[in-house]
């Protein structure tokens, strides 16, 4: 990839603004509340764009394009089934408890609703997980920048980590959020021309569909397997993902999706920084509109790439192959950038890629420093210090968190298996979470002991299910089957969905059972934390376009229409 002076100039402009925003916001950070929650002052649209941008890490940009090449338009299920309904549910049903309880974090809500041990379990696993996933994303970035720009792994990792560290320690969450808004626009403007040029190249939507039919038949599937999202989901063997509709709808659409969007502090923190309850509820809804259209921005490049690759000579585009001869889908986006963009646009595209890495990293770092300070340090290490002390701890935690993530990135270069294993363990911990929150917010009888035991049982159920099943064609070990093989799944994705379904169901059942035999908390303590004991929010005085129920309905109808249009 040949970069010119102009490309470096564009990158330099971006870095200047990123750091400049942090520097300019430094003087507004006076209390820990400013640092961790932006003083709850963000307008809904800023919180909403930051909400989506923090989630739009590079794993998403690169991973969804890879998935688009590998599985075609079925990848859109991760958006139109796996995101929008859960985001609407978060805004309409759950945000009133998160924002209204005045909790500073998701674990703190668990402390208010249940008890200390449930909070502790959630806070500690969440803190470890954010540092680790930040490290893994940095690792991916280091490899990529090394490939694209020729920077060494160390320079890539340290320079980006240092920039994120600087703007967050200076401006706290506000700085992260402002930069996420900047990064959001950068990502849209960086990748949109890629899609437009690619579509023009293959002959528009009709050309793309024709090309995908060749791809599908070449892989031995029905012609529409890459260009129809629902038509081939009757049996796992009919579609490239190897999943059937029920596992998809329940595993991804319900358990995984709601578990992520409704309980993950990384994104919810953005909504919690909003200036009012009304803004906090609108933030996830405002985020859902671009999220609904992202498949066209991040999946289409992959679908275009596989068509160009299949077309072979003439287009002159080919996906690289790995050592074992299979296609390296992960490099789809960088390959497309260098294929279509001349100098100038190339700088914009690479900056957009770096911006997506930084947005994801900053999201992890701000979520980590808040949970560490509020839910671990203040809860277990030093309880009654002055506010300025916690502000200082928040900054130290930022430095420590980024350093730990860098360490994890280096570790990943040496011990990839350990990283895979840790991610697997965290997936087990996360799988049952939504059952706990659903019962906590929806059923006043649910008790702290029950929540804790339910979470542990759900995690154990996930591990046991994984240990007893194996995706077809894999060897027992990290992929499953390490206890015994009682069932074979057609694909790893099907196994993941069913692991989540089992974990959720066990957690749900155990929490109910234990609640019925333990002493409930007095109702007076649960006001504002449980649905039946919380006053309804009156949105009647707001204009219709600001009411969550109206916005949510519009989103769901549009999502349904998209699913039907591309079925």
């Amino acid at each position: 990839m040949k970069l010119g002076l102009i490309d470096w100039a564009i990158m330099a402009v971006y870095f200047t603004f990123v750091l400049g925003i942090g520097f300019a916001l430094r003087r507004y950070v006076k209390t820990s509340n400013d640092f961790f929650l932006s003083g709850r002052s963000m307008p809904a649209w800023v919180a909403g764009l930051a909400f989506i941008s923090a989630n739009l890490g590079a794993q998403e940009v690169m991973g969804m394009a890879a998935s688009g090449a590998k599985y075609g338009i079925m990848t859109s299920h991760f958006y139109w089934i796996g995101a929008i309904p859960a985001m609407v549910f978060l805004a309409v049903f759950m945000m009133p408890f998160y924002y209204g309880s005045r909790a500073r974090s998701v674990p703190e809500y668990l402390k208010l609703r249940f008890d200390e041990k449930t909070r502790g379990l959630n806070a500690i696993t969440f803190a470890l997980m954010t540092v680790l996933s930040s490290g893994i994303s940095m690792y991916a970035m280091g490899l990529l920048l090394n490939l694209l720009l020729g920077w060494s792994f160390g320079v890539s990792v340290w320079s980006c980590a240092l920039i994120v560290l600087l703007y967050i320690t200076m401006g706290g969450l506000t700085s992260a959020i402002y930069n996420e808004v900047l990064q959001f626009f950068m990502i849209v403007f960086g990748f949109l021309p890629l899609v437009l040029l690619g579509l023009y190249d293959v002959g528009g939507w009709a050309g793309l569909t024709r090309g995908l039919e060749h791809v599908a038949t070449a892989h031995g599937f029905a012609a529409g397997a890459w260009s129809q999202s629902w038509a081939h989901m009757g049996r796992p063997s009919d579609n490239p993902m190897g999943v059937e509709w029920f596992g998809m709808a329940m595993g991804l659409g319900f358990v995984l999706s709601f578990g992520y969007w409704c309980t993950d502090f990384l994104t919810i923190q953005r909504a919690m920084s909003s200036e009012s309850m009304s803004a906090a509820r609108r933030a996830p809804l405002i985020a859902a509109f671009p999220k609904m259209l992202f498949p066209f921005l991040v999946i289409l490049p992959g679908m275009l790439a596989i068509v160009l690759h299949q077309r072979g000579t003439g287009g002159g585009f080919a996906l690289p192959t790995k050592a074992d001869g299979t296609l390296n889908y992960d490099l789809t986006v960088p390959m497309m950038l260098s294929h279509y963009f001349p100098q100038g646009m190339l700088g914009v595209g690479i900056t957009a890629l770096i911006a997506s890495f930084m947005a994801g990293m900053a999201g992890n770092v701000t979520a980590f420093n808040t949970v560490f300070t509020c839910d671990i340090y203040q809860a277990y290490i030093r309880r009654n210090a002055p506010d300025s002390h916690y502000l200082w701890v928040g900054r130290v935690a930022t430095v420590a968190g980024v350093s730990a993530a860098v360490a994890a990135a280096y570790l990943a270069t040496r011990f990839n298996n350990i990283m895979d294993m840790l991610q697997l363990v965290f997936a087990f911990v996360n799988a049952p979470l939504f059952a706990t929150f659903l019962l906590g917010m929806g059923w006043k009888r649910a008790t702290g002991h029950a929540a804790f035991i339910g979470l542990i049982s759900g995690t154990v159920a996930a591990a046991v299910h994984h240990g007893l099943t194996l995706p077809a064609g894999s060897l027992p070990g990290i992929k499953g089957g390490w206890i015994d093989i009682v069932h074979q799944y057609p694909s790893e994705m099907a196994q993941n969905f069913w692991t989540a379904i089992w974990a959720w169901s066990v957690c749900f059942a155990v929490t109910i059972a234990v609640s019925l035999v333990t002493k409930p908390r007095p109702e007076a303590e649960l006001h504002g934390l449980v649905y039946s004991l919380t006053k309804r929010i009156d949105t009647g005085r707001e204009p219709w376009w600001k009411r969550p129920a109206v916005l949510g309905t519009v989103l769901l109808v549009l999502t349904l229409a998209l699913n039907l249009a591309f079925r």
Partner: protein, 61 residues
């Protein structure tokens, strides 16, 4: 509200947009072979400049 975020967004997109326009006008036209003969720097630079301008206007209003 601290600083209006639309101000830095507007400024940055304005600067990057103008850089791209300059590159599209003055740059080597043979480079456009990769972008199917379209002067994408010029056109997309113009789009980014317009977006930056709108953001600046909104922040100053």
């Amino acid at each position: 509200m601290h600083i209006d975020i639309r101000l830095p967004v507007g400024l940055m997109f304005g600067i990057v947009g103008l850089l791209l326009i300059g590159c599209g006008l003055l740059g080597d036209a043979t480079l456009n072979a990769s972008s199917l003969g379209i002067n994408i720097d010029l056109w997309w630079g113009a789009a980014m400049t317009v977006f930056g301008g709108v953001m600046l206007w909104l922040s100053r209003r």
